[in-house]
């Protein structure tokens, strides 16, 4: 009864094209933003910010970037960690080598470097498709792993490729406390989510989806596969690169190439698939699921009061994690976002069954 678009008439094109055409959705979003921007900083504990909210936001951003490539353009990539690493190390180099480099500029430049590398490794996608492409993108992953470990220039000649940044600030405001880090990430994520949502609703977004659904047919009706695929790679790796900068600078502070290993790539792909391919909210739902699940699984024996050794726990967590992923894929192959939209549809019809 409460959630329904009846009586909400549109009288202008702007109203017809808005992202959330239903009033209740706009209210819900406003409420969510209010909670995120105002309530959370007031009530959240330090642990909550550091262990859950900040990683959730940053990984959601990375998943968002990956979703543009995999979910909207249909190009499977297993090299996401590599593009994050490129963003992080490029931004680090800009910060170290140029005096007084502002964080935001370094972040965007890092994203641009990731874009260049992303487009470079995206070129094979013009000839290679599907699973072959997925494995081919692993080349990017292993190459960057190696490059940041072995080529000293990238890491300012530090041993083992580990680097760190300190004294972050934006417009003179220091980004040191968990709350300020959280707010900084939140602003960046909100801006990028808005940008991504609008991109996917625009002409270029529709070209990506046409390529995803059937690239030959898309080419026949006049979409240039080269342009569509490479822009998808570019936008995706830009967002992923920025997420890499945030992950390294804001979340980790000090990092080494292992922070962006192949496990990270798999984790992000899981987020996209469990969240829902081709959906912006799916990236957030997937990231929330993947960040919370290990935390909950780790704590579960404590809560239940079962004494198990930590090694066994970590193996059990592996098992349950794997089983849950398979379970989710079986129950809802289209991801949490699909469940969400099914729920909304039910709400609109309630209390009638059809």
């Amino acid at each position: 009864m409460l959630y329904r678009e009846n009586g909400q008439f549109k009288t202008s094109y702007a109203a017809d094209q808005q992202i959330f055409p239903i009033l209740q959705d706009r209210w819900a979003l406003g409420l969510l933003l209010l909670v995120a921007f105002v309530v959370m900083p007031l009530v959240g504990s330090e642990y909550f910010f550091r262990a859950i909210l900040i990683p959730f936001l940053i990984l959601a951003l990375a998943a968002l970037g990956l979703n543009i490539l995999v979910g909207y353009c249909g190009q499977i990539s297993l090299g996401t960690g590599a593009f994050m690493a490129v963003g992080a190390y490029a931004a680090y180099n800009f910060m170290v080598r140029i005096d007084g480099m502002p964080l935001i500029v370094a972040m965007l430049l890092g994203g641009l470097c990731a874009t260049v590398i992303g487009v470079l490794f995206g070129i094979p996608s013009l000839r290679i498709k599907g699973l072959y492409l997925a494995v081919a993108t692993l080349a990017a992953q292993f190459f960057t792993d190696w490059a940041f470990l072995r080529i000293g220039w990238f890491t300012n000649n530090s041993t083992s490729g580990s680097v760190s940044v300190a004294n972050l600030n934006v417009f003179g405001i220091p980004i040191e406390s968990p709350v300020s880090k959280y707010l900084f990430c939140l602003v960046v994520v909100c801006l990028f989510a808005l940008m991504a949502k609008n991109l996917t609703r625009s002409a270029i977004g529709r070209q990506w989806m046409a390529i995803r659904d059937m690239d030959v047919a898309a080419a026949v009706i006049g979409i240039r596969p080269v342009y569509a695929k490479l822009t998808a790679f570019a936008v995706s790796s830009f967002i992923v690169g920025v997420a890499g900068v945030l992950w390294a600078f804001v979340y980790l502070g000090a990092w080494e190439p292992a922070a962006f290993s192949i496990d990270r790539s798999f984790q992000l792909l899981f987020m996209v698939i469990i969240g829902g391919l081709g959906s912006i909210s799916g990236a957030f739902l997937g990231a929330a699921f993947m960040v919370l699940l290990p935390v909950v699984l780790d704590q579960l024996p404590h809560w239940l009061g079962i004494p198990i050794s930590t090694a066994t726990v970590s193996h059990l967590v592996h098992m349950i994690f794997g089983a849950l992923i398979v379970f989710f894929l079986i129950v809802e192959p289209h991801g949490l976002a699909k469940l969400w939209s099914v729920g909304k549809q039910k709400m609109r019809l309630w209390p009638f069954p059809h």
Binding site: R127, Y132, D145, F270, H318, M319, I325, V326, P333
Partner: protein, 309 residues
């Protein structure tokens, strides 16, 4: 020249081992269209089972013979792989029929996580050894042609021979038996195979069991070389470029791809590596495969990909 040949042989041997793992990928992809990321985890699981059973059986039943222990352990490990194949088919794949390739890929990643955890919970997570009596000492050949001859590890030689044997056995199984014919029919066309009465579910169990068998052999050979530990499951990552280089659907492709990657990797590490700072083995195989794919997107022996609108 002697050194070059030595590297070449080393590469060929390593290549045979890669093909062994790659075979598992190809078998499953051909029969069920699933890109099985869990192959590495299956290798680890099989090797763990083998190593631990060989250690436990003499204690449980009170005998000394190493040969008997190994034989029993092999049978037990194989039985576990069959049960595993059945469980995967029953609880996972049969419910994911007709899903997209990427969903299936993710499901196998989930299976890989599960197996990593399950294997180590069941069998422990230390480093174990498998002793099936592989010769450890090196041999020297062609001593008349070069000073000092060319050193070849006998262990590698045995491993290569076993791999070759496995390939022949698999080829015979696929070409000459009734089940093999059914497997090939399913690989060609699921629906057509089903319509003439081939039970898809049973075929999938069989093909996962065969892949489990390949994983067990690979696990024993790799395990006796490197020790049975978690890193064994990363062998799969080494085999991926082999699979796409040879073509996802081709058994000979897996062998030839493995040899190319093995040789290319070793030679590049020796001759190009020092220029780039070493350690290029890890990505060279991928870049090599990528280069090949740019020329032939379906891999060396893969079926031509035809797009229909």
């Amino acid at each position: 020249m002697g050194f070059f040949l030595e590297t070449l042989f080393g590469g060929l041997m390593a290549g045979m081992l890669y093909s062994l793992v790659a075979l598992g990928f190809v078998l499953i992809y051909k029969a069920s269209g699933v890109f099985n990321f869990a192959q590495g985890a299956m290798v680890l699981f099989a090797a763990l089972a083998m190593a631990r059973f060989a250690e436990w059986f003499p204690k449980w039943f009170g005998f000394e013979s190493l040969l008997l222990a190994n034989l029993l352990a092999f049978v037990a490990a194989m039985a576990m792989m069959v049960v595993l194949a059945w469980a995967i088919e029953r609880f996972c794949l049969s419910k994911l029929v007709n899903q997209e390739g990427i969903t299936l890929l993710m499901a196998t990643l989930g299976i890989a996580y599960f197996l990593d955890g399950f294997g180590q919970t069941l069998f422990g997570s230390d480093i174990y050894s498998i002793n099936v009596g592989m010769p450890k000492d090196p041999a020297f050949v062609m001593e008349s042609m070069f000073e000092g001859g060319v050193m070849i590890s006998k262990e590698d030689l045995v491993a290569a021979a076993v791999s070759a044997l496995l390939v022949i056995v698999l080829a015979l199984f696929f070409q000459k038996t009734k089940t093999g014919r059914a497997l090939r029919a399913v690989a060609d066309d699921h629906q057509a195979a089903q319509s003439i009465g081939i039970p898809l579910n049973r075929i999938w169990v069989i093909v996962w069991s065969v892949a489990g068998f390949a994983a067990l052999i690979a696990g024993i050979i790799w395990g006796s070389k490197l020790g049975v530990q978690f890193t064994l499951s990363l062998v799969a990552l080494k085999a991926l470029p082999v699979v796409i280089l040879g073509g996802l659907t081709s058994v000979p492709g897996a062998i030839i791809g493995g040899l190319i990657i093995g040789v290319g990797e070793k030679l590049s590490e020796i001759y190009i590596g020092p220029m780039l700072g070493g350690g290029i083995e890890i990505w060279f195989a991928y870049v090599l495969a990528l280069g090949f794919l740019l020329l032939r997107p379906q891999g060396l022996f893969g079926e031509k990909i035809i797009d229909r609108v």
